[in-house]
Symmetry: C2
């Protein structure tokens, strides 16, 4: 089974719908990928994920390489079997984590050396080894090792990151090319455009990477502290530089409103820990804005978290019960909150796909903000 | 809908099967009640509980009185609706928790005064108020406030606890009698036999309480540190003192082998935090004995936790994945382990009900130990 991407609709403003075909199933875009860093979306089972409408999840190469190690996952029959999620999986390359989590990081043109944040062991990753690790893990979409510059950074630093990212992207194709078939499934490699907030560097990065003809392109180096204006501006600018017939993935984004704005600017794929991480801490996203579950206003509120939501949590539990679970430190609280927040994100994407197809996106966007603006957070 | 108990079979050794009828459904006995102290069985949703074969759960009056308070639960429409568990619920009276958890406990013949372990507030519980609290909570089976003496204790201390427990049991009947109908459901009160390991005191306690004609009887004051010999001996001795046509509930017991031995001695109902608490810490019960998930022997074991188990965890995950979740501190680990351990306990009860009906209990018991003895824990 081979990989493919087919555009199914483009709204006049630039928002688009498509179908991503992978060896483990199709993904309708625009799509949000719940984050399962360590081969589990925190607190949720695959059944919960499916019930929430999940099409594809993201797992993390850096974390899985360190624990339990790609050899064990390969021996288990690959990540799909290991974690019992039969659907599509994308793995982040670990570049971002090496730059943000690891100790004693040393970067060279060969790759990155660092100490594991778990046991302090010395590790070295190269563009080539990161692909081999992802092949062992068995993900459907692999990401190149990239150099994500910190924000803010100088033009020179950003330019160096762009040059290194291109070099590494080229090297990641050397062993097998951009499409690798294993166990009857075609896995593909996506490249990552860098360049910080510098338009000419984004342009250079996009030009160099698109010349290598990857099956998909990500926009990296955003959601790292820049303003919303820069986030939306750079995403829009970069999206226009990417081939129309390839999926565009905006990494690490974001808030519900960021998804809406990025979809409006022609983005097809997203991932973010926001819905899961915030939910575990008792803050959930709803059609009326953010809700902090521990707020005393929820103490005797026997209505659902979100009257417009069809998730397991909203169908079965009151805000009062959810608040009780969080006040009592009960594990079911984070889980039920996560179920809702993931469903809210996925439902948002479903709605956007629908209104793009009907060419009603800009009207829907206005209505979304009218409701969502009323936050009680 | 009214409460009832019907014996459906008695094995020659004394083990028995029955059906407990409550306003929220029937319970086949012998039955194990997963513990949902704070109106949630830690880490599990009601759907998980049902899938594991749960018939009835236990919640705790002491904890719910302190947080969120019975008034809120009543306002929510009762505990069944509050926690979204439509099946039968038994509430422990809180006597045991007052004696084991609360600070500055002061006991009198009127009741117990103590400070909340949550916020230090002063509280006072009486046999009458404990029934009112349980009526507000809305459980199907309420327990009397009892005096559970510590172990070991002197004859005098045990005798005083027996006398107080009888007095309090009488007072708990005064306001409404042993059967109270509210919202169309009949709720009932069970008494608790005390007497520590002193047979004559157990006899006195049982005689005094059975003369009050409660709809069911519990055996309290066990599983508090005594030997297995005493646990089984006192349970057997006390069970024989109780009316044959009333359910017999052995509180706070126990290990799988304890359930087998107590069923053999004529016990019908059990509750224990063991399967849930141990599972959260990574120790699970299986048909081959206890398994410590973090043990390195599980590192590359791609087989299921328990080859004889039909639970969600055993059907979908390997020991290697479960170990990974525990090593990585992932919340799904405790949850999947709890699903299994609860299913193991409930399946054990199902098996016992079956073999009692077929009068094959003693043979089955031998086979159980042949398998279960082989523990890798």
């Amino acid at each position: 089974m081979s990989f493919g991407f087919k555009l199914t609709g483009t709204e006049r403003g630039g928002a688009r719908t498509g179908i991503l075909t992978t060896g483990h199933g199709d993904v309708e875009t625009p799509a949000f990928m719940p984050v399962g860093t360590q081969a589990t979306v925190k607190s949720l089972s695959p059944d919960d994920l499916r019930a929430a409408g999940t099409q594809i999840i993201l797992a993390n190469t850096y974390h899985l390489h360190l624990r339990p190690g790609e050899a064990l996952i390969k021996e288990a029959g690959g990540i799909h079997r290991f974690m019992s999620w039969p659907g599509p999986i994308l793995t982040d390359s670990g570049g971002y984590q090496v730059f943000s989590l690891a100790d004693l990081r040393k970067i060279s043109f060969d790759g990155v050396s660092f100490r594991s944040h778990i046991d302090g062991s010395s590790r070295h990753l190269t563009p080539e080894s990161v692909i081999d690790i992802q092949l062992d893990i068995g993900s459907d979409i692999m990401m190149v090792l990239d150099h994500c510059a910190e924000y803010p950074c100088s033009r020179e630093t950003a330019a160096e990151a762009v040059a290194r990212t291109t070099q590494w992207a080229e090297r990641s194709l050397a062993p097998y090319g951009p499409r690798v078939t294993r166990d009857g499934y075609e896995r593909v490699i996506f490249a990552i455009v860098q360049g910080s907030v510098f338009e000419d560097l984004r342009e250079r990065s996009a030009r160099e990477l698109t010349s290598l003809d990857f099956p998909g392109y990500a926009i990296g180096g955003l959601s790292v502290g820049e303003s919303k204006k820069d986030l939306y501006g750079v995403a829009a600018f970069t999206a226009k530089l990417l081939p129309e017939d390839k999926p565009r993935y905006l990494m690490g984004v974001g808030f519900p409103e960021d998804l809406v704005e990025a979809v409006a600017r022609g983005i097809d794929m997203f991932d973010c820990v926001m819905p899961t991480r915030n939910a575990r801490n008792g803050t959930v996203f709803t059609s009326r804005g953010r809700v902090i579950l521990k707020n005393s206003s929820n103490r005797d509120d026997f209505g659902p978290l979100d009257p417009d939501c069809d998730c397991y949590t909203c169908r079965n539990y009151s805000r009062a019960y959810l608040r009780h679970l969080f006040m009592a430190g009960e594990m079911l609280g984070p889980r039920l909150a996560t179920v809702h927040s993931i469903r809210f994100y996925l439902h948002l994407m479903e709605e956007m796909r629908q209104v793009i197809k009907e060419d009603l996106f800009s009207q829907w966007r206005k209505e979304f903000y009218e409701k969502y603006g009323k936050s009680d957070g």
